[in-house]
């Protein structure tokens, strides 16, 4: 069952298309990554899917209802969102911020302990938000977005302000949520994050989807038909994958001179550059 269906969405601001003819669907339980540089339309799409913005044309359905219905309380109980438009109450402590969300979602008190553990902030609960680092704030905002363990989670660059240790902690938590049924819609320009977390990714550039598929499939599609061989004497070769190369490699193997042997596989970043001719920033 698809939890998100987007059909030919177009969003125009003035004389510029922020999104143009965007179509895709996300089945329940998937972690779907939207990759693209700043200004490519990622946040616009999240806003359309969460009823903060109306599309110029096309239609989007979330939980099998038109996305315009997402402003209803019953629908908002079902999703969580973290974007750069999210904020925290500066004069309140971490715990007081989460207490507000706990009450708004009508959750038991234990949900605060659980979510604090999830974002690795159990020991900091009494700290006021205005004394937190950028990374800690990001984790508190994430905690607010997932405190109700939503069916669908929208994350816009969730680990952009985090160090690798805390990012790893967040990835672990997101996988836990996903294993327990949360579908995750993630936008990022961190290729490693996308490869690590996402079942499928879409590459968005200038408002249009350039490619869509699992990271493995995309890499396979864009793989160069070349074997990289490094011999123990330091010589390195890039050889086309054909019968001649197979014979050559077999010979080297018989002689035991191969140090390293691999296919030349592009990263998602390489694929992005290849498809758009642009760096992913």
């Amino acid at each position: 069952m698809d939890i998100i269906q987007v059909e030919r969405i177009r969003k125009r601001f003035g004389d510029k298309d922020a999104l143009s003819d965007v179509s895709f669907s996300i089945p329940k339980g998937e972690i779907f990554g939207f990759l693209g540089p700043s200004g490519s339309g990622k946040t616009t799409l999240i806003k359309i899917l969460t009823a903060q913005l109306n599309p110029t044309s096309g239609q989007a359905r979330v939980f099998n209802e038109p996305s315009e219905m997402m402003h209803r309380s019953a629908q908002k109980m079902r999703f969580g969102i973290l974007t750069d438009n999210s904020g925290l109450y500066e004069r309140l402590t971490i715990e007081e911020n989460l207490e507000l969300y706990r009450q708004l979602y009508d959750l038991p008190k234990s949900s605060i302990d659980k979510v604090l553990h999830f974002v690795n902030l159990s020991g900091e609960r009494k700290k006021k938000v205005n004394r937190l680092s950028k990374g800690m704030r990001q984790r508190v905002m994430l905690a607010c977005a997932v405190i109700h363990e939503p069916e669908l989670l929208f994350l816009d660059e969730p680990t952009s302000a985090l160090d690798p240790v805390n990012s790893a902690h967040i990835y672990k938590g997101l996988r836990y949520l996903n294993e327990n049924g949360t579908t995750i819609f993630l936008t990022t320009h961190d290729m490693a994050e996308a490869e690590l977390m996402c079942n499928r990714v879409a590459i968005l550039y200038q408002g249009q989807i350039q490619a869509i598929g699992s990271p493995k499939e995309l890499k396979k599609q864009h793989r160069e038909n070349v074997m990289c061989v490094e011999l123990i004497n330091g010589e390195a070769y890039e050889l086309p994958i054909d019968e001649g190369t197979a014979d050559q490699i077999a010979d080297w193997m018989k002689r035991g001179v191969i140090d390293r042997l691999e296919t030349k596989e592009p990263s998602l970043g390489d694929i992005f550059i290849k498809m758009t001719g642009s760096e992913l920033l």
Partner: protein, 236 residues
């Protein structure tokens, strides 16, 4: 339109905690009481001084406080986060307005006590105060929603301060400049008329007219604030 009292209460408690730690805004609670102490022994007639203090207090208490609460939420992006939770438009507006209402009612009660003002009809006086607090809270919500920062909110209440507080004095110029007659229909002018009714020699109509005009303003501004809030849910 759904209302959850539990969610509205959660927003009320959160706002109370934030407000009590925001000394720059919470100090405003003292101003009406200080004005009352200064003006109660002034040589002007009691009702004139009391009306001036009330009309000024409505702007610096419910209007300014509410504008600051809303604008600060916008400045820190918390209003958008709140809009993305199950809290409905009415939950958010009710929760935020309830704190402003309670604080204003308590402070204006103390102010009335200090002045020793005795209304001709306690019911009409109480109704006028309640309608006015709601009216100026709605005006504060509108000012806050039009502002992007706390500083902008402070400036945005200036037109409210000037128009509504000065209106009763402006009416005095209506003989020379008939256009100023329109100021007589502002809620602040009607409050002055209501406070001026003394003793027992008054008709129900004399009490009802100012009350109904204030009520009409209250309904109109409340509807405007709700519609504006709902438009702010969208980014269009």
């Amino acid at each position: 339109m759904s209302i959850s009292l539990k969610r509205a209460q959660a927003i009320f408690v959160k706002d109370y905690k934030e407000f009590s730690r925001n000394y720059a805004v919470s100090i405003m609670l003292l101003f009406p009481i200080v004005f009352a102490f200064i003006l109660r022994s002034a040589p002007t007639p009691l009702t004139g001084a009391f009306a001036l203090v009330l009309n000024t207090s409505f702007v610096i208490l419910p209007c300014f406080t509410q504008a600051c609460l809303v604008a600060e939420e916008k400045e820190h992006n918390t209003l958008r986060s709140l809009m993305m939770t199950p809290a409905s438009t009415m939950d958010v507006l009710l929760g935020k307005s309830a704190l402003t209402f309670v604080m204003s009612a308590v402070v204006l009660g103390i102010t009335t006590f200090i002045f020793g003002y005795e209304p001709a009809s306690i019911w009409a006086f109480t109704a006028a105060i309640i309608f006015s607090i709601i009216l100026y809270t709605a005006a504060g919500t509108i000012c806050g929603l039009f502002s992007k920062t706390l500083l902008e909110a402070t400036l945005s209440i200036m037109p409210v301060l000037i128009i509504f507080t000065v209106a009763p004095s402006g009416v005095l110029l209506a003989d020379d400049f008939p256009i100023f007659k329109v100021l007589d229909y502002l809620p602040s002018s009607q409050l002055v008329h209501l406070l001026g009714i003394q003793g027992t020699g008054f008709t129900t109509g004399e009490l009802l007219k100012p009350l109904l005009i204030i009520l009409a303003w209250t309904v109109a501004l409340t509807i405007w604030s709700v519609v504006l809030y709902q438009r702010r849910l969208k980014d269009e």
